[in-house]
Every structure is written in structure tokens, then in C-alpha cells.
């Protein structure tokens, strides 16, 4: 079920990127897509009734079901990278604004 939500978010983001002509809105759509993607990655490792993958001495570990820890580690990396690209995108958006005085791609005179 979680996967469907993730795919809807990815599609929503892609739709935004394809249809919007405002620099900030495109960056927002990019973010929505990335959140969907991260949700998808997490959903891959999800196990129903699974517990956090932490080894403890209290339990007999053989009888417990863990969620897959690897996708969670991947998501951490993906989130960091996503934040990096967003920051860079906003910095470029600022440069675009100070050069053209607008965020609308259609109003800029492309040379």
C-alpha cells in the first residue's frame, strides 16, 4: 500500500516538473518527487510487524522479524543528496532572479 502512495508522489512531482514554468515551483516539484522516491525506498525494506533492526541482549533474536536496515541507510544518503541539490537549485534561482528580475521561465529573454 505504501508503494502506491510513493508512486503517486513521484508521478505528482514529475507532472509538476513537466508543467510548471516557475523556477521555485519546479524546485518544489523536484522535492516532492524525491520524497516519493525516499518513501518508495523505505517501503521496499518494510516488513509487517517487523521491529527496528537493533541487536540487543534482551531478546532471543532468532524469533524476531526485523525490517531491512539497508534501505534506511540508503534513504539517509538520498535525503542528504536531495537537500544538496535543492540548496544548489535555490542558489541558481537567486542568480536567475537577480539577472532577469523574475522567476517565470517564459518571461525571461533567452539569448
Amino acid at each position: 500500500m505504501l508503494q502506491y502512495a510513493a508512486i503517486v508522489l513521484i508521478m505528482l512531482g514529475l507532472y509538476g516538473i513537466l508543467t510548471q514554468r516557475n523556477v521555485i515551483k519546479i524546485i518544489l516539484s523536484l522535492n516532492i518527487m524525491e520524497i516519493g522516491l525516499n518513501l518508495f525506498i523505505i517501503s521496499v525494506g518494510y516488513v509487517t510487524d517487523g521491529i527496528a533492526p537493533i541487536m540487543t541482549t534482551n531478546h532471543n533474536t532468532n524469533s524476531l522479524i526485523y525490517v531491512d536496515p539497508l534501505p534506511q541507510a540508503l534513504v539517509l544518503t538520498a535525503i542528504v543528496i536531495g537537500v544538496g541539490t535543492t540548496a544548489l537549485g535555490l542558489a541558481i534561482a537567486k542568480n536567475i532572479y537577480s539577472k532577469y528580475g523574475t522567476f517565470e521561465l517564459d518571461e525571461m529573454e533567452e539569448e
Binding site: G84, L88, I92
Partner: protein, 459 residues
């Protein structure tokens, strides 16, 4: 010493360079030089990171395939730095990160690690391209690049859910041992193909190229068109040869798309009137051709074609971008006769462009001839016909450009090319002739590269 240093030293230097802006360009040159020298001292093999053995931890693979890539890319990177030294000063830190990312792309044996390096080198590429001062083009590049790498990640995760590993050689083993059908693999493969295709300038995903390379200065042009393009092609080769086995039907679809890419690229190049646009469309066609060769399994010669492209695109883009930096125009009609006053530059440009279009005596010819021989052996006449036809088109537009740039001496503009660029482009041009006539080296290298993949992947 272990090959991790190729990635770790530039990254460390990147952090140090933030502290002292004046020292940064010098540090960049030193680190780049260190990388070139140190490559020759590493022993081949798999490097385990953090003590976790191969399928569990991240591993770097240094075999003959990545070794030859590392040598070519690091030397090309250093030469680009020398050519554009005054542009480098502003973005020295970024270039250090880019160097780490590019080396990581070539070395890594882990698919998720590959994604991280794609993003690292990608973000560096966006920042390098801001030196063009065309921010809308950079923004387009950023959006398309990010969407592309997201697609790559999506494909990768689907693959992980199916196979349960991220290590390249382990993935190849499990795919064959668990009998996962080619039809099931085609979805994640296509996602990853799209993701890498964005950076590799393949046809439907390359709308960023015109904005970036069409306005390129002497740093961005050679860096993106030669160094980055070569690296991504080699990454593509690694994935197509040692991870996936593409089914016949999917292979046919991809081949047709890539063939359309070649034809479209050459046609656009033929129709363009600006020097940098001609070169960028030509390099789009070349990129598609290289990927086709990897798909067809002509790995060794595909690697040689990547190297030939790195050398000749470096010469072509360095000269074209330098010229348009000086004259503020790159309409071929406005550049008439510039080579008659700069003979060395002119000869180097001529050699590089003739090598790309595949005239005898130059490296491009040797590569193209051997490629065509293998294709005819495989009885794939359509592909051979397209390559031959596009070579003719290539020859026509390059000769047309060359005639315009050499003749009309009266109203020729004078440009002062500095000593460094003259020296570098002539050495590279001589290299193209050397490899074009003394083919034993190439044959040997092709055999060592082919041996890497014959044993069954990278153990």
C-alpha cells in the same frame, strides 16, 4: 598504497581548499598531478572499504578496465586545468570534488555507491557550468540531471528488491543463479538506462547539452564534453558488460533508439552554423555510437573509441571555446580564416576533426575500422550502414567547417592563443597520429580490456 587515495585525497584537499582560497588552485594542480603519478603504483584487485567483505560492504574495483579509464580521465582532467587555469581559480574546490567524483565513478563496484558518485560529480558539473553565466541553462541541467539520477535510484531500488544485493559482480551472479528473466529485469534496467542516459547525452534525455555546451567557455567545454562524457561512457560500459545481460528484444529497441540518436545528432550538426553547436551535436552522435558498441559486446574497441573521443573532443572544444571566449562569437562565418594566422592551432583542430570523422592515418580511423570489422563479422548490416553513412555526413560538415576556417585570409581576425593551449593541443594531435599509425598499442589494450570481461566479470 591503495586506490582509495584517488578519491580520498581530492576530497580531503577540497575541504582544505575552503580554508585558503588563494592556495586552492595550486592545491588542485598538485592533487591532480599526484593522482596521475600514483595511478601507476597501485596493484590491481578489489579494495574492501571498512573491513566488510564484498557483497556486504562497498568495494572498489581496480581492474584493467578501470585502470585504463583512470589513466585517460585523470590526464585529460589535468590538461583541461592547464588550458583554463584562469577560469579554474574561482571553482577550484568544486573541481576537486569533481575529480573525486569522476575517479569514484570509474572505480566503484557498488551500484548505490555509483549513484552517490553520479550525484557528487553531477553537482560539481552544475557548479562548473555556472561559470558560463547562463543560469537558466544551468538550472535546466540541474533539473534534468536530478530527475535522471532519481530515475537511476528508482531502478536500482527495484533491482535491490528483486535481487537483494547492490554489489555489481554479486548482482550479476545472483541474476543468473536465481534465474530472473530478462523480461522482469527490463523495468529496472530501463530506469537505470534513462538515469545514466541523461549524463551520457543520449537522444531523448539530452536537452540540457545545447544550453551548457553551446555557451561553453574554455573550462566548461572540454570538461563536460571530454572528461565527463568519457567517464560516463565507461560507467555505461561497466554496467552493460558486467551487470546486465540485455535480452534480444530490449537490445533491439535500445539499438534503434540509439541509432536514431546517431542520425539525429549528425543531422543537427550538419544543419548548425555555430562552431560549438556543430561539435556538441557531433559528440551526441558519438556518445550514442559508443553505447551501441557496448550493447553489441564490442567492449575493447568501444573503450578505445571512448579514449579517441576524449582526446579529440578535448582538442576541438578547447580550441572552439577559447576562440569564442576571445571573439564573443562562434558563428563559423565570422571565424573565416582564423586558422591561417594560427597554423599550429589550425593543424591540431584539423587532425582532431578528421580523426573524429574517421580518416586514415588518425586514431579515429583505426577504431572505426576495427569496429566495422566486428560488426560485419556479427552480420549486423543495418548498424554498419548507419555508421558508414553518418561518417560521410560527419566528413562533409567537418570539411566544410575546415575550409571556412582556413581560407579567406583577408578579413581574418587575429587571436592570441597562449602558449599552454598551443602546446597541449599539438601534443594531443600528435598522439592521435601516433595511435593511428602505430596500432600495436591499441590492439594490446583492447585485448587486456576484453580479458577482464571474458573471465566472467570482476572478481
Amino acid at each position: 598504497m591503495s586506490a582509495v587515495l584517488l578519491i580520498a585525497v581530492p576530497l580531503l584537499a577540497a575541504f582544505i581548499s575552503i580554508l585558503n582560497k588563494k592556495l586552492a588552485p595550486v592545491l588542485l594542480l598538485l592533487v591532480s598531478l599526484f593522482n596521475i603519478v600514483s595511478i601507476f603504483f597501485y596493484s590491481l584487485g578489489t579494495i574492501t572499504i571498512g573491513g566488510f567483505e564484498a557483497p556486504y560492504g562497498i568495494s572498489l574495483v581496480l581492474d584493467n578496465y578501470s585502470l585504463i579509464g583512470l589513466i585517460v580521465i585523470n590526464i585529460a582532467f589535468f590538461l583541461v586545468l592547464l588550458i583554463s587555469y584562469e577560469k579554474v581559480k574561482k571553482v577550484a574546490t568544486v573541481l576537486l570534488v569533481a575529480l573525486a567524483g569522476l575517479n569514484g565513478l570509474l572505480l566503484t563496484g557498488d551500484l548505490f555507491n555509483l549513484f552517490v558518485f553520479i550525484e557528487v560529480s553531477g553537482i560539481a558539473a552544475y557548479l562548473i557550468s555556472t561559470t558560463n553565466k547562463k543560469y537558466v541553462a544551468t538550472f535546466n541541467y540541474l533539473v534534468i540531471g536530478t530527475v535522471g539520477s532519481s530515475f537511476y535510484l528508482l531502478g536500482l531500488i527495484i533491482l535491490y528488491a528483486m535481487v537483494g544485493t547492490l554489489n555489481m559482480s554479486d548482482m550479476a551472479l545472483r541474476i543468473s543463479s536465481e534465474g530472473i528473466s530478462a523480461a522482469n529485469l527490463s523495468l529496472p534496467f530501463l530506469f537505470m538506462f534513462i538515469g545514466l542516459g541523461v549524463e551520457a547525452k543520449l537522444l531523448p534525455f539530452n536537452s540540457w547539452v545545447k544550453g551548457i555546451l553551446g555557451n561553453s567557455n574554455k573550462l566548461v567545454g572540454p570538461m563536460i564534453a571530454s572528461v565527463y562524457a568519457g567517464t560516463i561512457s565507461l560507467v555505461f560500459g561497466r554496467i552493460l558488460t558486467s551487470v546486465f545481460v540485455v535480452s534480444d528484444r530490449l537490445g533491439l529497441i535500445l539499438t534503434v533508439i540509439l541509432l536514431v540518436g546517431i542520425v539525429a545528432g549528425e543531422t543537427m550538426a550538419f544543419a548548425s552554423t555555430k562552431l560549438r553547436e556543430i561539435l556538441l551535436y557531433s559528440s551526441i552522435a558519438q556518445a550514442s555510437l559508443v553505447i551501441i558498441l557496448f550493447l553489441e559486446g564490442i567492449t575493447g574497441w568501444a573503450v578505445m573509441m571512448v579514449i579517441a573521443n576524449v582526446i579529440s573532443k578535448l582538442v576541438l572544444f578547447a580550441i572552439a571555446s577559447y576562440t569564442s571566449d576571445e571573439l564573443k562569437t562562434d558563428e563559423v562565418d565570422n571565424l573565416k580564416g582564423i586558422f591561417s594566422k594560427n597554423k599550429i592551432i589550425g593543424v591540431a583542430f584539423t587532425i582532431a576533426s578528421l580523426s573524429v570523422s574517421g580518416l586514415p592515418l588518425f586514431m579515429g580511423f583505426v577504431v572505426k575500422m576495427n569496429v566495422l570489422t566486428s560488426i560485419f563479422d556479427g552480420e549486423d548490416y543495418l548498424l554498419a550502414a548507419v555508421i558508414l553513412l553518418t561518417s560521410i555526413v560527419e566528413g562533409v560538415y567537418f570539411v566544410r567547417v575546415l575550409i571556412k576556417l582556413w581560407y579567406n585570409k583577408e578579413d581574418a581576425k587575429t587571436i592570441n592563443y597562449n602558449f599552454v593551449i598551443k602546446y597541449i593541443v599539438s601534443v594531443l594531435a600528435v598522439l592521435l597520429i601516433v595511435f593511428g599509425t602505430y596500432t600495436t598499442v591499441l590492439n594490446d589494450q583492447v585485448e587486456t580490456v576484453n580479458e577482464v570481461f571474458e573471465i566472467g566479470g570482476n572478481e
